[in-house]
Amino acid sequence: MSPGTDNHDLFENLRLELRRGSLILAVLAMLRKEQYGYTLRKTLADQGMPIDEGTLYPLLRRLESQGLLVSEWREEDKRNKRFYRLSAEGKAILKPLLAEWQSINSSLNGIL
């Protein structure tokens, strides 16, 4: 394998690691307002945080099993859709998480 490929793979791994935490925060923040998977994905992409469906749906399920989200099936446009929103526990956790992110962000800005 060439050094270029190695560097690219390393960058990809680091980028994914960096994105993982931010995506959770973005999803939680977006779900302060109820949405279903497809619109959530589109909104995130429009906001510059594209996420593929293979990552989003398992993430939503994980957050729901952790009690941070609640969901319900409802009909919209003649089709059943699963709507997600932040639970009370999710709301309680989102606040300090955002504060933590802002603190990390300002520290990083200082370092860089």
């Binding site: 998977g37 497809y38 469906e53 293979g54 749906y57 398992p58 399920r61 089709r79 699963r82």
Partner: protein, 330 residues
Amino acid sequence: MELLESYLRAVKRYLPRAQSADIIRELSDELRSQLEEKESALGRPMTDEEVTALLRQHGDPMTVARRYRQDSPSLTIGWELIGPELFPMYLIMLSVNLVITVACVAIVFLIMHAPIKLEAFVFPVLIQIIVLTLVFIGLNLVRRKYPQPWYYPPAELSPMIPIPRGYSIAGLILWGPVLLWWLALPHFPSLILGSAAAHLKLAPTWHNFYVPILLILLASISQRVISLFHPNWTWLVPFMRMIINATGALVLYFLVFKSHTLVVVADAFQGATQYEKLAESVNGTLLWGVLGPWLWIWAGISAPIYAWYCRPHLRKLLRGKRGGEGASVS
């Protein structure tokens, strides 16, 4: 929507059973929304090729399901040997193999009118566990290195997914030596008889089966060579393998159940009781072991599976023919 349904069924196969219906319902809504959005942008219904491209982009069914199975059981000793998406299939295959193995060993004892001993089961069962585990560890390694291989696409999607070259090469690596072994057998009977070749010889019945089995092996190798150079000839695999397996099952039926003597005592040792017994034992091993019912069952099961995979190709062919007729009428 037939392609989408088929894709969803394939994903469902690898999902944790308790959540599968719910996950599929949501995945179905997501993919339908994507299809509708594309169709409205195109201003026309999507073609089968376009739908397949979208589904391929979404991911191989096993890989898609894996993302939902992060906490499911797997075989891990320090590092992952068999991943969570393959593990349920491994357990099913292992159970089926062990049941067949135990049944075959018991049948051999019954046929030989010998008392059934527990020790006799230990070696075949251990071999099955070791071989199957190694096969799945290999599959797991391939899946980690090439995470989107689409090795076993659902039947409806298979006409549009090229045969992976690695799949054809693996088949050649496996069946090439078998063909060479078979070609060498008439000249070197010890390759199948071992040390008994000094006292035994292949019976005339053997020669009746030699050419049909040789042709089956040659057809199998040819299919893989053609698929290697023409991976887009997706119809070739199900059609040829259906014929190969159906013929194989027929030949093996006559070989295993209708012929009883594949080897006889060599002319120089005719009449010696010990060699008569040796011939009987070798015949039993060949008919119930090497070329035994397991191979017949395998071919018998594979033929209808490949026939099932022929359906979408036939449907496409008929649709094309009707389209052609329609075009000529207009």
